[in-house]
């Protein structure tokens, strides 16, 4: 397939990408930009390991063709920390023991970020719904929910 050229804005930087248009956003982010935090766990949008934020919304990037992301703001796990300063959710995941094998964690944290941006004082049930598209097999979700809850604002 003939390659196409588009610009992708990823983590605040603009990249000119030259690639086959039938490749997924996940493939291009991983293989062309070498941002390998996003993972492929199923390739069918069922596990959430490939979760990225596109214009602030959760996207399973294994199902999105990369040219569709042109003109939008793509955020990956690598862009979440502010320099050396971790995002509060990243710190909470470590401190609460929410991280085990880690494979789902980049997607899970981004889903948690999107959940709290949408519902800043999310309850445990709202947190569970917010991350229901992200499978984790190590934790039973207990400490993941604990970590996200610890960062949520107290209900007004």
């Amino acid at each position: 397939m003939a390659r196409q050229t588009h610009r992708l804005d990823v983590n605040g930087r603009s990249h000119e990408i030259h690639a086959e248009p039938n490749r997924t956003l996940l493939e291009v982010v991983r293989d062309e930009l070498r941002l390998t935090g996003a993972k492929e766990g199923c390739g069918t949008g069922d596990c959430g390991a490939c979760t990225l934020l596109v214009d602030g919304r959760v996207v399973t990037s294994c199902l999105m063709l990369w040219p569709e992301a042109e003109g939008r703001e793509v955020r990956t796990i690598e862009g979440l920390a502010d320099g050396g300063e971790l995002h509060p959710l990243q710190r909470a995941f470590v401190e609460h023991g929410a991280v085990q094998c880690g494979f789902c964690i980049p997607g899970m944290i981004l889903a948690g970020v999107a959940t709290l941006e949408r519902v800043p004082s999310a309850t445990r049930a709202e947190i569970r719904d917010g991350i229901a598209g992200n499978l984790c097999r190590c934790t039973g979700y207990q400490k993941i929910v604990d970590a996200i809850e610890s960062v949520a604002e107290a209900p007004a």
């Binding site: 935090g37 880690g102 499978l135 097999r137 039973g140």
Partner: protein, 775 residues
């Protein structure tokens, strides 16, 4: 959380966040699929669509003519991968050796060929162009029918059974006997006997007879199997980056298959994206064979579909039980038949399952038979406590039914009959220190259990509420272990181990070193070396890593401390036995001003012309006594009797950890295993069509629990010290998966008054049990 007073330490016993956590939350951790090498090819697999077929021809010409396709590798090509020209797949009896179907495909999804392409797309397009001609053979799909003497054979007869999968997880003194000549599908059989069954049943006031089925399930790790293998024809060097629970197991297998000298082979076990017993070797053998044939690096990452079809999920089973109880609640006799569907290659955990189904309670009379049966389902491997969720689902419903049948409290009947330290297992071997009783007692005190009447009272016409209890345990494995520990020039220490960290063990090892050297955990680093740089280590499986490698780490720290004491005593003109540890220094007891810092000790043992040898601690331990872990789990649930949907509303997992070196990690293991048990109990199963093809080879239809399906889990750690584990620790990784399905089944009985004898308890099965849908 803790129910008895804990011994006091400084570093162990604390809730320590994982040492590698920061790398994981920033996306920097490198997993096998993240590895890219110059000149790397991509491999895609061609899978058999038939559960049983003869391969009569394979046409690769169209694929090879496709631009970007470099090679097509089949079983016939494996002789080119082997240094001595032998073909490892020829007549292979074990799944690890059978890289590709060799003339006969024995399950739907079995790899038949790999296509190597310059890009992933090239390889994928090439794989679609490979044309395989099959002569379809009768498929053996029902495990009970497969045991009949006149059943067709699932596969051509094979020899030796490889017990690696089972041995990795559990050390038991019994071994199933291989059926002679393998003229039937029964791959192995074993039995246990005690007392006189007739006498046992004659003493019973109630005899319960029931059959139970458990589905074939997948371990469900989120990272599919992945390997990058490289081969340099000029030097003969082979390097393999892979996702495995046992890098030395991969090394030994590749050496054996391809006759590679150990000096030319390096296996790097990458950070593992979940294993749970299922990540041993499947992608490493194929990727390495492809690299050896092509003379270039090859990446092979299973798709999820391939991982469900062609990895090693864990067996379905049929368990038939007949058992007796007196009206006082004494168990009198157990007659059990345990049948595991091994799929197309031997490897089901029949010895462990058959032993443990008859060993959790004091049965005065018993007879247990276990069978491992070959079918044309996917070949199976281990899972957390392999085989035990199957038998627990049966025996714990049976005990529940007997207790309720004579009008007694199920927790009380369990306590009355539970095995204690020193009691004999069905094999005659005595249990080492165990905490089954303490575990049940803690569950019986839990608010979910004591509040079950109030919970039931919430029931309405169409929403029934129930609470269930189930108990189980796991013996765990044993393997020797060694650790090296180096004193750094800044007074910190580095530990090197060869075992994969799948559960936070490196964090626990850092705590152990910190404890023994009286330094903060931050001054210890633990590195997982590869097979060239680390001392030999076993597979991270069998709940054994902390209790074996943890002992080696502790010995290494003690060794390092004694070397420091000896050198400091010499320098300070004191007796080594008078030396004590201060804060990052060695002191003469009672004279803290006479001291040497760790940093100074490092300097005087590494400087030019030093009279002392560098300080390197070594710990090496042999396997001795197991440290079994028991769990008791409580499920509270609501059943919608119109839809059959089950909603979990409360959960407690009680587990004996012996001593929780890192309670944060122990809870993580308990919660994770509980989550898997919930999936096994409610929603996960391989669904085959009548032709033996998997219908749900994807994560939408192979349904693992999401966060929204999972209740809050209350982890209750019980600490009955083991004889062997460091600080009394027990194996904690596996017991947590065992009891969930049974606890759910008992809660469903509590809610509905009917038994769901088939697991998982899907809405359809719930409605069937209620008579709302016809069979």
């Amino acid at each position: 959380m803790t129910t008895i007073e804990r011994p006091r330490y400084n570093a162990v016993g604390e809730r320590e966040p994982r040492v590698e956590g920061l790398h994981k939350v920033t996306g920097r951790t490198v997993y096998a699929a993240d590895v890219q090498l110059p000149g790397m090819l991509h491999a895609r697999l061609v899978l058999s669509p038939h559960p049983h077929a003869r391969i009569t021809a394979l046409h690769a010409d169209a694929a090879l003519a496709h631009p970007g396709v470099v090679a097509v590798v089949t079983a016939d090509d494996l002789a080119r991968a082997s240094r001595d020209g032998s073909n490892p797949a020829r007549g292979a009896s074990n799944r690890a050796d059978a890289l590709f179907a060799d003339r006969e495909a024995v399950f739907a999804g079995q790899p038949v060929a790999a296509v190597l392409g310059e890009s992933y797309a090239d390889a994928e397009e090439g794989a679609e162009l490979v044309r395989v001609e099959y002569e379809v053979l009768p498929a053996v799909l029902d495990v009970e029918a497969a045991m009949e003497p006149d059943s067709p054979l699932a596969r051509s007869p094979v020899s030796d059974i490889d017990h690696t999968e089972e041995d990795a997880h559990v050390t038991i003194d019994v071994r199933s006997e291989e059926a002679e000549g393998r003229a039937t599908n029964i791959a192995s059989h074993l039995s246990f006997e005690r007392g006189d069954l007739d006498e046992g049943f004659s003493r019973a006031d109630l005899v319960v007879e029931q059959s139970y089925r458990a589905a074939l399930v997948h371990q469900g790790y989120i990272e599919p199997h992945a390997t990058v293998a490289s081969y340099d024809p000029a030097t003969g060097d082979v390097a393999v980056w892979t996702s495995t629970q046992g890098q030395f197991h991969v090394r030994d297998t590749l050496m054996r298959l391809f006759k590679l000298p150990e000096t030319k082979l390096r296996v790097v076990g990458c950070e593992l994206g979940g294993g749970f017993g299922g990540k041993m070797i499947q992608s490493a053998t194929i990727a390495t064979a492809c690299a050896l044939v092509a003379g270039r690096p090859v990446k092979l990452v299973f798709t999820r579909r391939e991982d469900l079809l062609a990895a090693t999920p864990t067996p379905g089973s049929v368990v038939r039980l007949r058992s007796g109880i007196t009206s006082e609640g004494d168990l009198t006799a157990l007659e059990a038949t345990v049948i595991y569907d091994a799929g197309a290659f031997p490897g089901a955990p029949v010895a462990a399952g058959t032993l443990l189904i008859s060993s959790f309670y004091r049965w005065p009379h018993l007879r247990t038979d276990g069978y491992e049966v070959l079918t044309n389902h996917v070949s199976v491997g281990a899972i957390r406590a392999p085989g035990i969720h199957n038998i627990t689902h049966a025996i714990e419903q049976q005990v529940d039914a007997m207790a309720l049948g004579v009008g007694l409290d199920p927790a009380a009947v369990r306590l009355r009959n539970a095995v204690r330290t020193g009691d004999e297992m069905a094999s005659g071997k005595p249990f080492p220190s165990i905490g089954m009783v303490e575990t049940i007692e803690a569950a019986a005190r839990h608010p979910i259990w004591t509040g079950r009447e109030a919970a039931r009272a919430r029931s309405t016409e169409t929403t029934r509420v129930g609470v269930g209890l189930a108990v189980s345990g796991w013996l765990g494995g044993l393997q020797p272990a060694t650790c090296e520990l180096m004193l750094n020039s800044d007074g910190t220490v580095n530990a090197v181990v060869g075992v994969m960290d799948i559960s936070g063990v490196n964090t626990s090892f850092a705590q152990i070193v910190a404890e023994e050297l009286a330094i903060p955990v931050e001054r210890v680093s633990v590195s997982t070396g590869d097979t060239r740089t680390a001392p030999y280590a076993g597979i991270a499986a069998g709940s054994k890593t902390t209790i074996t490698m943890g002992r080696a780490v502790r010995e290494a720290a003690v060794d390092l401390r004694e070397q420091m004491f000896s050198i400091a005593a010499d320098q300070l003109e004191a007796n080594p036995t008078d030396m004590v540890l201060g804060e990052g220094e060695v002191q003469v007891a009672g004279s803290p001003d006479r001291s040497l810092t760790f940093r100074r000790l490092a300097a005087i043992t590494t400087g030019f012309g030093s009279l002392y040898t560098p300080i390197v601690g070594k710990g090496a331990i042999s396997a001795r006594v197991q440290a079994p872990g028991f769990t008791a789990q409580l499920a509270e649930l609501e059943v919608d009797t119109v839809s059959g949907n089950v909603t979990l509303t409360g959960w407690a997992t009680v587990q004996d950890a012996g001593y929780a070196i890192n309670p944060l990690s122990v809870e993580g293991q308990m919660e994770g295993g509980t989550g898997m048990g919930i999936g096994i109990g409610l929603s996960e199963e391989y669904l085959y069509d009548d032709e033996g093809r998997l219908r749900n080879a994807g994560l939408l239809d192979y349904r693992m629990p999401t966060a929204a399906d999972t209740p809050d889990i209350d982890s209750v750690i019980v600490e009955v010290p083991s004889e062997e584990g460091p600080y009394g620790a027990r194996g904690v990784g596996e017991p947590s998966i065992t009891a969930g399905g049974a606890a759910i089944a008992n809660a469903l009985h509590d809610a509905l008054g009917v038994r769901l004898t088939e697991m998982p308890a899907t809405p359809e099965r719930v409605l069937r049990a209620l008579g709302r849908v016809a069979d």
